[in-house]
């Protein structure tokens, strides 16, 4: 019952990790889910091909905010190439909950924002 709202997800929603502005960020990217008004903005700091620091800000449903919290924890300190290769299924695995097609965009907002932010640092 309520499999999607597991304790872990609710915990990340209520107490998001890596939440807030990132001082000295090299790039940021914002993604919105126009259907429900979720928004996630990710800021990154890159050092030696790795994500040295990452933070997010936003508002929206539990899935979008918990996914951002979990993803930023997961990718901090990781190689950029590896992060750029992350896909839908990787995020779903991190979340560990069943996501219906209607809620998929919520779950993936943070991934899109993170990838776009990294891309910007490369374009610079």
């Amino acid at each position: 019952m309520q499999e999607i709202y597991k304790e872990n997800i609710l915990d990340h929603f209520k107490h998001p990790r890596n939440f807030g502005p990132l001082k000295g960020a090299q790039a940021s990217a914002r993604e919105v889910n126009t259907i429900c008004g979720d928004e996630v903005e990710v800021q990154v700091k890159i050092k030696a091909g790795k994500i040295a620091d990452i933070k997010f800000q936003g508002q929206g449903c539990a899935i979008s905010q918990a996914a951002a919290s979990i993803l930023t924890e997961e990718v901090k300190g990781k190689n950029l190439e590896g992060v750029q290769r992350l896909e839908k299924n990787d995020v779903l695995k991190m979340l560990g909950i069943p996501i219906s097609p209607a809620r998929l965009k919520c779950a993936l907002l943070a991934l899109y924002a993170t990838k776009n932010a990294i891309k910007q640092t490369k374009d610079k």
Partner: protein, 402 residues
């Protein structure tokens, strides 16, 4: 009113629980009678209308025009005052495009803060295109139309006033009769009413309302998808330029020009959704048989009960007028600290189908200063037990997010 037996879809189960359908403001369910009418048309009468001289085409035409008459008299209009469109949005676009062709630089269009995007974006875009000014009637704190704001903004420059009859978020029933008097007394504007959330829920007598145009959707009044209607006063329809061009809407075509058919045909280019029109006629029969007074009463009881039960839950904020008497069959609300999509997901796991989000009213959401809201909406087939299931679901949301 327990009419669930007439609606085959309500036998479905989700997660082992019976479907409690509380999203009728998005689209209503269809009774067997409407579904049968569609099937019967395709099995017995399918042919294109008007042009055929053979019997089958004549029978199809009779049914099609018979439905037009039925739909027209349902709102107290004449058949030639009803134009068929694909939905309510297209009916409003027809007006925006056709009336928009006559707009000049200093002209003004007046809409309200509570409009659905379908009665907002067409006017906004036409105003931008024609260099006209778009103005907004404000809403009061309790979510009603501010009639003083309406009156204040009317002038000789106002060419179109476009307002909703019932708000799909606030539930507010706007006093159209009073509004029509204000508009016609203080300007030369035509009054356009979006009736999507009103028709099928309350008795509408178009002559008494005094609106110049009235747009509505078939699928929200127990009819099939793909059919909408536009009522318009005949003399206005006659003056207006067509919206879409093509077959059936012409009188005569030559290499140098075209003369157009009389309304309503002038606005019905191409083959219309004939079976859907006939089935919408069946929906009107169904509504008439149940009685609009009784339907209104059933809505009111459900809304009143739901408001009372929701009112017992402290974290809930309800938008719009406080009492069921001032409302259509819609209740939008938020639970503190919970996004409306999470509310909808948890209710879904209880078999309750309802909606979260901005409900195609992003400007209104900004006025209310909320990103979205959860919304329960009712129709003739809903029961007190449905409201109970809904409230149980809401209590579950609180448990999950406590």
């Amino acid at each position: 009113m327990n009419l669930a037996k007439d609606f085959p879809i309500l036998k479905r189960k989700f997660n082992g629980k019976r479907l409690v359908y509380l999203d009728s403001a998005a689209t209503s369910q269809k009774p067997r009678q409407v579904i049968s009418a569609l099937k019967e048309f395709y099995e017995k009468y399918n042919a294109n209308v008007h042009r055929g001289v053979y019997n089958l085409s004549e029978e199809a035409t009779q049914r099609y025009e018979g439905a037009r008459t039925k739909i027209a008299s349902f709102i107290g209009a004449r058949a030639e005052e009803i134009v068929f469109t694909k939905n309510c949005t297209e009916a409003l676009n027809l007006l925006a495009y056709s009336l928009g062709k006559e707009l000049r630089g200093r002209d003004e269009i007046l809409i309200s803060q509570m409009e659905h995007h379908s009665n907002f974006v067409p006017w906004q875009q036409i105003a931008l295109e024609r260099g006209a000014k778009l103005k907004f009637v404000e809403i009061t704190k309790e979510g009603k139309l501010n009639l003083a704001s309406l009156k204040k903004q009317l002038s000789k420059k106002t060419k179109v006033v476009a307002l909703t009859h019932v708000s799909n978020v606030l539930g507010t029933i706007n006093p159209i009769k009073e509004i029509a008097e204000i508009v016609h007394k203080n300007s030369g504007a035509v009054l356009v009413i979006d009736g999507a959330q009103a028709l099928g829920h309350m008795a509408v007598d178009i002559k008494k309302l005094g609106a110049d145009f009235y747009a509505f959707s078939g699928h929200k009044m127990l009819g099939p998808l793909g059919i909408g209607c536009l009522y318009g006063k005949r003399e206005l329809f006659q003056k207006m330029k067509p919206f879409l061009y093509g077959g059936k809407m012409i009188k005569e075509v030559s290499f140098v020009g075209t003369t157009f058919a009389e309304p309503p045909y002038k606005f019905e280019a191409g083959t219309q959704p004939i079976a859907e029109v006939v089935a919408l006629g069946a929906a009107v029969d169904y509504l008439n048989e149940k009685g609009m007074g009784k339907i209104e009463e059933s809505d009111r009881k459900l809304v009143s009960y739901a408001l009372k039960e929701l009112g017992k839950i402290p974290e809930i904020e309800i938008y719009g007028p406080k009492t069921a008497e001032e409302r259509g069959a819609v209740i939008a609300f938020n639970i503190k600290g919970v996004h409306s999509h999470d509310v909808a997901t948890i209710l879904d796991s209880e078999g309750v189908a309802m909606r979260g989000g901005h409900h195609c009213c992003m400007p209104l959401m900004s006025v209310l200063k909320i990103p979205g809201a959860a919304r329960a909406s009712f129709h003739i087939y809903n029961t007190k037990e449905d409201v109970d299931a809904f409230i149980r679901g809401i209590r579950k949301v609180r448990e999950v997010f406590k």
